[in-house]
Amino acid sequence: MNERRAVGRLDVLPSQRPEPAAGRQGTRTGSADSMSTATSPEDVLLELADVSFSYPSGLNAVAGLSISVGRGSRLGIVGPSGCGKSTLLRLITDLARPDQGRVTRNYGSDGDRAPVAMVFQEDTLLPWLTVRKNVGYYYALHPRLLSKAEVNDRVGQLLGMVGLERFGDSYPRELSGGMKRRVAFLAAIACRPQLLLLDEPFSSVDEPTRVEIHQQVRDILDQFKITTILVTHDLAEAVSLMDAVAILSARPARVTKVTPVALSDTSDLLEARGTREFLDLYGQLWEALSHEIRAGRVSADR
């Protein structure tokens, strides 16, 4: 049965993925609850236990954060600007080490699958490589994992899924912003990562293009069933793509609320945006996020 956990703990496990919104209460108020009962430890892909991190300047970014992510789950993370969302991803990828607490990663090299891949907010495409070579970059770094023919096949398939099959031999400078973001996403997907991290991946793209990309991303994530953590400011993006959305408090970040998300029909995300269930979920997240932003301002004023 569901148990109330200590504030700040979030468990997102696929076997407890909530039923579609109709007939289900998707929100919690007050302290964050665990979304599920405990399951077998093997289901946990990533665990952050009581993690804290401060920058050398003394800025306390994360304090006592606990998150447990199960295989196959998709978790969105939203919070006030500067609350430590991107820092959280750096802690997960080991680009930063926690001052306290523990990060347990139950993933590693698995054949030709990358342990982890990330889509950064900034442009990381290599300008001297074609689109095809950028997408297959992981296998250029680790050439013994797959043959060139296998890489080409995989890259070709992925380019076709986002409508970029004609641009395989183009260079990044020849692409629009939306196309570059698609290529960056494909480069992270091509290595079939066990954990995919998305750090505001489409924030630089105009909204109509972003919605179009969301549909392609959703279809790909559904097909390949990749465990995903998405950090975003875009609440609609979190609702469109993820199974659950965690709200972080203002800095130092801790989990304050968890909202399960399950749209009944994801075949047309643009149309889904007009449905009652989408608007309800969006409204709940909006309220929760606004509360954290106000709380953060009050705390800063003291």
Binding site: T93, S109, A114, A117, E122, D123, T124, L141, L197
Partner: protein
């Protein structure tokens, strides 16, 4: 269609100049304007050089306008012609030029490779730069021109001393540029490679080396100039051969016209070296933004 009051007729708003697409014709027009401006600058310079010294008030007041010290374009052109064909007592310049250019190129290549390699390595290894950087800066501060007589004494009179002198000058130009190039890699690009479990060596050889190459090519004009300077200086001190020897003779004879003629050859050599560098960069680094102007 005209706009009624309160409406905005976008068709009536002229396109800003910057948004108009560049046609082949407009690009060609642009190139012609550039060439015309280049010719105009050259003509203006030559005209000033030819006629300002003839204004006695100016040439008496400003020593650098005295024709004795700066010759004239007409005389310099004649000297260039005589050197090119070996006429009127002037030796044919080409064998001398080849001696100078060969040593300059050898030193330029060696200095570039060493500066590139060390700059790439140090940009990837902040620890080793912290250790050795202070010594590199100290050596760089030494006036290397003052070391040339010692180099000649050690390496002997010949091309070896010239190449060593050039390497000493080119290395530091290349090193500091390449160091900065390696540091200019966008942090997110490096972070992405780390997330994908790229080793530091792979990151250096697959990512940093590209940015270092960009900055290395940017240093070519300075490096080329220093390579010629280094060779000429050794040749003038040692009197070994090459253009430096001819310059030494012209200087000893206070023959400004011959000196200017020789300088014209050196300038053209430098321009050709830099141009070859630019063409190589366009081919090797086709992806660089700086290629598109």
């Amino acid at each position: 269609m005209t706009a009624t009051q309160g409406e905005l007729d976008l068709a009536a708003v002229p396109e800003p100049r910057s948004s108009r697409p560049a046609t082949a014709g407009s690009k060609k027009h642009g190139r012609l304007v550039i060439y015309a401006c280049r010719v105009a600058v050259l003509v203006a310079f030559l005209a000033a050089w030819q006629y300002l010294p003839k204004v006695s008030v100016l040439s008496h007041h400003f020593r650098f306008l005295d024709p004795f010290f700066i010759s004239s374009p007409e005389s310099a052109a004649k000297a260039v012609y005589d050197y090119a064909l070996g006429r009127n007592g002037s030796p044919m310049i080409w064998s001398y030029l080849w001696v100078t250019v060969r040593s300059a190129l050898e030193g330029l290549v060696i200095g570039t490779v060493l500066g590139f390699a060390l700059g790439l390595f140090m940009s990837s290894s902040p620890f080793w730069y912290e250790v050795f950087g202070v010594y590199i800066n100290a050596i760089n501060a030494i006036p290397r021109i003052a070391l040339v007589p010692i180099i000649i004494a050690i390496a002997g009179v010949g091309s070896a001393a010239e190449v060593i002198a050039v390497v000493m000058m080119v290395f530091f130009v290349m090193f500091f540029n390449c160091l900065e190039g390696g540091r200019s890699v966008p942090p997110a690009v490096l972070d992405n490679a780390r997330v994908l479990a790229a080793s530091p060596l792979r990151m250096m050889m697959r990512i940093r080396i590209r940015y270092v190459s960009l900055w290395a090519f940017a240093a070519i004009p300075n490096a080329a100039a220093f390579s010629i300077l280094g060779v000429i200086f050794v040749e003038m001190i040692a009197g070994t051969g090459g253009i430096g020897l001819l310059l030494l003779e012209a200087t000893n004879n206070i023959d400004t016209t011959s000196s200017v003629g020789l300088i014209v050859f050196l300038s053209l050599t430098g321009v050709i070296m830099v141009r070859l560098g630019e063409l190589s960069k366009r081919r090797l680094l086709h992806w660089a933004d700086s290629n598109r102007g």
